[in-house]
């Protein structure tokens, strides 16, 4: 009797690894002790800029706003030659078409949130339609939210199945799964949600919607990076990471890079596998880049606000 065997057996998610809060916070703070100077800083800033998902997720978003943001994505600061573009623009599904057109063949991807972002409180079929709509409009990437209510109720299979269904609806688009860690409460649960998402088919796991505080923190990101590492060793499959919200300064972003370098290493130090979900970070990075070049900080007025 031939029984189809899944290549990777999902584990019992009620028994995911324990995380010690004190230990995680200590380890995370150790990354911030690394001193990033000179060419290391210059290269780091370029990497950071290139990893940004420039984001606008507001009720007030319009075609005009999105177009302006797209221009910024391709031309972060024309006064500086030889700087990379950002990685992607992150918008609501209704804005995907506008963004896709504005970005053209620049290589900058369009990411769309979906699945009744940010709450995720909608029936599964609506979430699937939401996702398919975004993909049909041209989204290269889909940022979904998990059902935190079901997760807290212990219905891990529900959460798993939902992610798997959205993954299927994504087709060729890459799926980022937002755990909304600010609502999960403990690192143990962050780890559990990460494991569920990865086993269910996530291409990326992402901390936050940006609508809930706290959003991304270094300890939470560390827990997720370690989950990615364990999953990689177990399955050989790489999963990307996207901390989002709360990272607005270059120095902090460089600390995140240090963390990626020392936990996952070379293969993840690219925007294919690591992203920053941020809007104001880009200008701070640009300001630091100009400072490195000229030796002086310029006023914020020299950097475009989009």
């Amino acid at each position: 009797m031939a029984i189809a065997k899944p290549t990777i057996m999902p584990p019992d998610f009620a028994r995911t690894p324990h995380i010690d809060q004190v230990g995680v916070e200590e380890r995370a703070s150790r990354f911030t002790k690394r001193s990033i100077k000179n060419e290391s800083k210059e290269n780091g800033l370029k990497l950071v800029l290139n990893m940004i998902d420039l984001t606008t997720l507001e009720g007030i978003d319009t075609d005009g706003k999105v177009k302006q943001l797209c221009y910024k994505a391709i031309h972060p600061h024309d006064a500086l030659p030889d700087i990379p573009t950002v990685a992607a623009i992150c918008v609501y599904p209704t804005m995907v078409k506008v963004a896709k057109k504005a970005l053209g063949d620049s290589g900058v991807k369009v990411a769309s949130v979906a699945t009744a972002f940010p709450s995720g409180q909608a029936p599964k079929d609506i979430k699937i339609r939401d996702t398919k709509y975004a993909v049909n409009e041209g989204a290269d990437e889909v940022d979904m939210v998990i059902s935190r209510g079901k997760f807290h109720a212990g219905e891990y299979n529900f959460v798993f199945d939902e992610i798997a269904a959205i993954k299927e609806a994504c087709g060729n688009a890459r799926l980022k799964v937002i755990l909304e860690t600010g609502e999960l409460g403990t690192f143990d649960k962050v780890r559990r949600a990460s494991d569920i998402a990865m086993h269910a088919g996530a291409d990326f796991i992402k901390t936050s919607t940006g609508k809930i505080q706290p959003a991304a923190t270094m300890p939470v990101t560390l827990v997720m990076l370690e989950a990615i590492r364990d999953f990689y060793y177990k399955t050989g499959k790489m999963i990307g990471m996207k901390p989002a919200g709360g990272i607005s300064k270059s120095k902090l972003a460089l600390h995140y890079l240090v963390m990626v370098k020392e936990v996952l290493g070379e293969d993840w130090l690219t925007n294919e596998w690591f992203r920053f979900g941020a809007s104001s970070l880009a200008n701070d990075v640009l300001m630091q880049m100009v400072k490195l070049k000229t030796g002086q900080y310029q006023s914020a007025n020299y950097f475009s606000v989009d």
Partner: protein, 500 residues
């Protein structure tokens, strides 16, 4: 006796490998040496002033990271020791004993504050002279040393509350001999409680790391401490022996090797000298299968590689429950790759230089012994500087309880990994050591922590953490790790007679 090496059967995990040698690297970030002043030559600090040694001899102290000479310091002989002890006796009788305790406290607070003001300079000198990473001397050694002075300054006029219904009386002159692994911090551990309780001190720093203690002498001078209350001298074993054997010394406080500790015990056996000995260790760090593994791994790394493993309470024996051994070892190996070994003055360095050539020889000897005993060695792939004394962080797996690398103190960045099955088994194995200074337990289960800590024969047991120090917390050993406690309220006791 050679155990045949087995090839790891897990081909899959061989093909999956994280690459930590990344294209994005850290540029050098050296701390500036110019923020510290080191004299060409140092005399002995006796009776509040710098005195030429009667021995007329000096010896070099070098930077272990590049083998260059930093300075030369006096080699005190028995006559110099006698002079220092006389100064201490005199200061004890004439001023320190009689001084109101709250006045004594003011001096000690002043020392602590000046140490904080000069923190950067002290950290730089500590790293230059001893080889430890500037990150550690800056963030751990110097602030903790200053905190010890602050803490014991607070006790000076409150001894009647420390020991209710008893009258306290200082012992007299304390001869204090400190090791090279935490030169300034050990000086603070020794001096602060001694003078807070009204004793006077002759302190000898270690041969290879005399400079921060001499810098502390300058601070003591600046604090205007009455002459002779603290005398700081330099020298090697013979100087220490002269201190121990001096008839006017009332108390010996020693931190160092168990061998020397035994010699001291013998020397004072027929005297009424009191002693505190803080000696070697071979701490067991125990990981249970229900532990938070990633944090436990980090704790193990911190436990054995902190200060190049030159820590008496280093977690040098790792006991890991067999069901998670493979995972833990893989994680340890990955973590080893992200440790930065090199110039102690670089702010990004995690593991600095081995303190001396002779210590490096000892470590290498043990690495040889481990290989010969059939244990499997794993070292990080880092490049070592061509000059200076360096050692790659090293793991040994497949270690047996009977291996010498599992029994003897190596005092370097070398971890012996053993496995176990049950709680009872691991307690028996952990306690199966002539030492008993510290231990660590990693489990998510609270009841297990209490059960383990109760049954472990170790002076300090850390649970889900390691190498945590605080002036308020007593530290000391069981068995051949010594006796007496330093730090906390307990640390006052070795410097006092209690009367009714």
């Amino acid at each position: 006796m050679a155990v045949t090496k087995k090839k790891t059967a897990t081909k899959k995990s061989n093909t999956i490998k994280l690459k930590f040698d990344t294209s994005w690297t850290y540029a050098p970030a050296p701390e500036s040496k110019s923020a510290a002043t080191i004299n060409k030559q140092y005399d002995l600090f006796i009776n509040g002033e710098w005195q030429k040694p009667l021995s007329k001899k000096y010896f070099d102290t070098i930077n272990p990271a590049n083998e260059e000479k930093l300075s030369e310091v006096a080699d005190a002989n028995a006559a110099d020791v006698d002079k220092a002890v006389k100064a201490a006796t005199n200061a004890y009788e004439k001023s320190w004993k009689k001084m109101p305790a709250k006045e004594r406290a003011k001096y000690i607070f002043r020392i602590a504050r000046i140490m904080q003001e000069k923190a950067r300079e002290l950290a730089i000198i500590e790293s230059l002279d001893g080889g430890k990473p500037i990150k550690e001397s800056r963030d751990f050694d110097v602030p903790t040393a200053a905190n010890h002075f602050f803490y014991y300054a607070g006790w000076a006029d409150k001894l009647e509350y420390a020991f209710p219904n008893r009258t306290t009386e200082p012992l007299g002159v304390a001869a204090q001999i400190i090791p090279w692994n935490f030169p300034l911090l050990m000086a603070a551990w020794k001096i602060a409680p001694a003078i807070a309780t009204g004793n006077t001190v002759v302190l000898k720093s270690a041969e290879t790391t005399p400079l921060t203690a001499l810098k502390l002498a300058e601070i003591i001078q600046e604090a205007d401490l009455p002459p002779g209350v603290v005398n700081i001298i330099t020298g090697a074993g013979a100087t220490g022996a002269a201190m121990v054997n001096h008839p006017d010394v009332n108390k010996i406080a020693f931190t160092g090797s168990t061998d020397v500790g035994k010699i001291i015990q013998r020397a004072i056996a027929s005297t009424d000298k009191k002693a505190t000995l803080e000696l070697g260790g071979k701490a067991a760090n125990i990981i249970f299968e229900d532990a938070a593994i990633d944090q436990a791994v980090e704790g193990v790394i911190n436990g054995i590689f902190f200060n190049q493993g030159h820590v008496c309470c280093a977690g040098s024996r790792l006991y890991v429950q067999e069901s998670v051994a493979k995972e833990v070892i893989r994680k340890l190996k990955d973590r080893l790759e992200s440790l930065i070994v090199g110039d102690p003055m670089d702010k990004n360095t995690d593991i600095g230089a081995i303190n001396s050539k002779s210590q490096l020889d000892i470590i290498n000897k043990y690495i040889g012994i481990g290989k010969k005993e059939g244990a499997e060695m794993y070292q990080s792939s880092c490049r070592l500087p061509s000059k200076g004394f360096f050692c790659r962080p090293t793991l040994f797996t497949n270690v047996a309880q009977s291996n010498r690398i599992a029994q003897e103190e190596i005092f370097g960045p070398v971890l012996a990994i053993l496995t176990f099955r049950t709680e009872d088994e691991v307690i028996e194995k952990a306690n199966n050591s002539p030492y008993g200074l510290s231990a660590g337990v990693w489990t998510d289960k609270g009841s297990k922590i209490f059960n383990m800590t109760k049954r472990m024969k170790a002076g300090v047991v850390w649970a889900n953490t390691f190498n945590k120090f605080d002036p308020t917390s007593p530290f000391g050993g069981y068995k051949e790790s010594g006796f007496g406690r330093e730090g906390g309220l307990h640390g006052l006791l070795p410097y006092l007679n209690l009367k009714n």
